[in-house]
Amino acid sequence: MPMRNLHTEILVIGGGVTGVGVAWDAALRGFDVILVERRDLAHGTSGRFHGLLHSGGRYVVKDPVSARECIHENRILRHTHAPCIEDTGGFFVVTPEDAQSDYPDRFVQACAQTGVPCEEIPPAQALREEPRLNPAISRVFRVPDASIDGFQLVHLTAQAAREAGARIFTYHSVQDLVLTQDGGGPRVVAARVHDTVGDETLLIHADLIINAAGAWSGRIAGMAGCQVEIVPGKGIMMATAHRLVNTVINRCKWPSDGDILVPAHTVSIIGTTDTPVADPEDLRIEAWEVAKMMEEGEKLIPGFRHARILRAWAGVRPLYKAKEAASDRDISRQFALLNHRTRDGVAGLITITGGKLTTFRLMAEKTVDLAAQELGPRRACATASTPVAPSQKDLYWLGHRLREVEDHHLQHELICECELVTRGMLEQAVRNNPTVTLDDLRRDVRLGMGPCQGGFCTYRAVGVIHELQTGEGLVPDTENAPWQVDRLTSPGQTPSSPTSFPRQAHTTSPLYNPNLLLRDFLQERWKGVIPILWGQQLKQEQLDRLIYLTLLNADHLPDPHLKSPLTDFYHATASLATPSSDPD
């Protein structure tokens, strides 16, 4: 089969926050950019993180460089990415267990040194603001932490990158890098990329390839013969069925497991852990990790142990092990920016890895600065002063979506009642964002993320998609341009620039089979509830089984063997630590 060839100046590998940040920055500076992501945008760590826009408070004692970077970026992102950020503020609280330590005093001092704003408030005041907090806390410090939506962050940044001219291909996996020997030595000149939906291999030629594959970046570098040692560090998080707090709550102690509770939309998220794993795909959750979260949560919020938990998930940190002195080292110790030309003698390849979601813009800036050194200067970095959604200047607030839905009845019936997803949003998302699995739609519109975990909306969403496919959609296609789902704006708020970039919809693919979509999403939701099924949520699961087994008979649908690019992934990651073998 003849291979399709594409040409670009910069090829970015990885559609997490780092990759889309690099694509956005580079496109704004005038580079010709292609980004490839093996699955959906934010399918990696950027869609499995804790949701905290760090003030830097967590790092002031342990890692002041990080702390400075965080507060710097925190201030910038509130302007550039306002609609993804909820200004919850944050508390650092001293629980009885930590009362004897000198950490709180060191914390105050370190905040002053790193420039992280910190105000001590009386515990009584903190308890008035957050009545569920442990009443035995002895000291409370207020910092400018915030809650940030990683899905929206990645989507908005990607959208801004597209509008600046970048081309973004999801479900395109880099299989191999192509090297040539020019005068000075080896040079990476192209990537062989597999389109997993169209089942086609393309060759993307680039003057420079930027490896932003997160925990997988060691593998990408290895394709060019460069050794980049990444130790994937797995962390788990759990969402409660209610928003237990409206402020980010941190334990004021040396950072450790299960010591942060972040309000996110209608839930709160407790996390996290840090366990080295051999494979970044190993996202299984261990029973002890779940127990640990419940136990630690109890110290912050008495009664947490009895809270209804909706779901547990894991993400992997890309922990970079620096090669002794050999590299031209990272700009900061906090992320690794590697120029493989100077480090390994392999030209045409840069790796950017590590860091935090909070500092992605800074990482992208430094990366594209280096790219500009390699490729020749362009316009200066503009990301710090360019809002990604110019029409949406306000920060997110909790009632945002309800207001949108109530104000604009054009959006048709509610498909997901838990998360207030209307049929209009769903249809627009499917038309505008590549949707290979319903999980992709979840990242776009939060489908299935509420208490029933897809019980009602999975069937409905499959029905809606099928109707779209057969030309029975309810929202006329022409409404698309002024109403972009990933911005969650409504018809009343027309964004300034109409969408002009080509859509990458997959609705004609043979994989686009309603029965497959349904089975995949049921399995995807299942893997995240297994670790936390007890009490109310176990009962909920029985209702979901009643719906999908006895009512819909979804286990006896046509095409049972059809697979999507993610079917195996959903099955592999779905088990408790103890392999679930049948006792009888």
Partner: protein, 422 residues
């Protein structure tokens, strides 16, 4: 006045137990937190649709019971025996006919038949409300599946496509929802209530008429009336001169609610059996292996209920009859009867949601003797005057087996008919 039999649970098992007890001349009373799973199901009577691990539907449920017992020796069908199961089913069919909500089976009265699910998958069931019967997938007539634009709980093109993929002739059409109601975001229950009005039902029938081709059978979501269902369905058949069948929808399930209402009305009006909801048992008292009373939490104050015998029909994990905690402990909520479940939480679930053999936790439950008395692991009766009915038994997973209603009817029948009072 204390009742003879206090029934805890108002699902199909509890309500039927109340009817049997009253028909036996006892004075039963039903208390429950709320209505059971019948409000969520298809409203059919599923007896045994699949054997564990076997993807093929069961054709002859009674003949398949020995195979089931070979894999699940303590299954309630083994405790009650096939004859009692059949008697209970026959009684149910006679009862619902006299209540004006008749049920019927497929063309062969001894076998399952296949009704299309809202996804178009074949549901093996034994008895269905007569308004669902024309969906029978062993019949040849082409399907016309009718949906409503703006109804979020039913997708006709998807159903028709899956029927087509399985070799049936099927097509879908949409009608405007404002034929039925001007409102948005309706549940199936709202729509069924609206169709109780004859003018609305007429309007729907008139609008549908021109779409039907000769020889077609017409499937509609199960919204054809709530209180006047039988008349609405009759009217549609008459005007449209075609077989009309209902397709169950996402919960709340109108066919299940119709059944619950018919049974409750029969209990309260015809049999003078009180059915009190909003009562959750908090604790109980037993003496010499006999339960003396249970105490309920109610809005005003706790109440003590004494009875000669108690029938537990609280419906397992789904009904709230069992619960569990973070540490993987699970227990029966009313009498703290010993639950047989995998001890290690790591063994509760299989990695595949749709695994044909089901998840071990969901076939955990209580052990009972042939009179439906709870027994412990040694086979000793725990409480002499307690009986079990419905989805409570170990070695059975009624949702996976598609036996939820069969188990409820058979165990309620046996539990009550074996009661002897001094």
């Amino acid at each position: 006045m204390p009742s003879d039999l206090l029934i805890i649970g108002a699902g199909l098992a509890g309500l039927m137990a109340g009817i049997h007890a009253a028909q036996q001349g006892l004075r039963p009373r039903i208390i429950a937190t709320g209505f059971g799973a019948t409000h969520w199901t298809a409203g059919t009577i599923d007896v045994l649709g699949y054997l564990p691990g076997d993807p093929e539907p069961v054709h002859h449920p009674f003949q398949a019971v020995p195979q089931l017992l070979a894999q699940r020796p303590q299954h309630p069908y083994g405790l009650v025996g096939v004859p009692a199961l059949r008697r209970a089913l026959q009684h149910f069919q006679e009862l619902t006919t006299t209540l004006g909500l008749p049920y019927g089976g497929g063309r062969n009265p001894h076998t399952n038949f296949l009704l299309p699910s809202p996804l178009g998958a074949p549901r093996p069931t034994f008895l269905a409300p007569v308004a669902q019967r024309a969906g029978d997938m062993t019949r040849e007539e082409p399907y016309l599946i009718v949906g409503f634009r703006g109804m979020r709980d039913f997708y006709p093109t998807l159903m028709a496509e899956n029927l087509t993929r399985q070799g049936h002739e099927a097509r879908a059409i949409f009608l405007p929802l404002d034929l039925i109601t001007p409102q948005q975001d309706n549940t199936p229950l709202h729509l069924a209530r609206a169709l109780d009005r004859e003018a609305v039902a007429m309007r729907l029938a008139q609008a549908l008429k021109s779409h039907i081709q000769p020889g077609e059978r017409v499937g509609l979501p199960a919204i054809l009336g709530l209180e006047r269902h039988q008349q609405v369905w009759g009217l549609m058949q008459e005007i449209l001169a075609a077989p009309i069948f209902e397709i169950p929808t996402l919960p709340p399930s109108v066919p299940g609610i119709r059944l619950t209402r018919a049974l409750r009305r029969h209990l309260e009006r015809d049999l003078q059996v009180p059915v009190d909801l909003g009562m959750t048992v908090m604790d109980f008292h037993a003496q010499a292996a006999r339960v003396q009373w249970v105490r309920t939490r109610a809005s005003a104050r706790p109440l003590k209920h004494r009875a000669q015998a108690f029938l537990l029909a609280t419906g397992g994990f789904l009904g709230g009859g069992f619960t569990s905690d973070t540490r993987g402990r699970a227990w029966e909520t009313v009498f703290h009867l010993p639950l047989t479940i995998p001890q290690d939480r790591g063994q509760w679930f299989r990695p595949d949601f749709l695994a044909a053999e089901g998840h071990p936790i969901f076939r955990g439950g209580l052990r009972a003797d042939a009179e439906m008395r709870p027994v412990d692991t040694t086979g000793r009766v725990v409480y002499e005057n307690v009986r079990l009915a419905g989805d409570l038994f170990t070695d059975s997973d009624p949702l996976a087996e598609r036996s939820l209603e069969g188990v409820a009817l058979a165990t309620a029948w046996v539990a009550v008919h074996g009661l002897k009072f001094a």
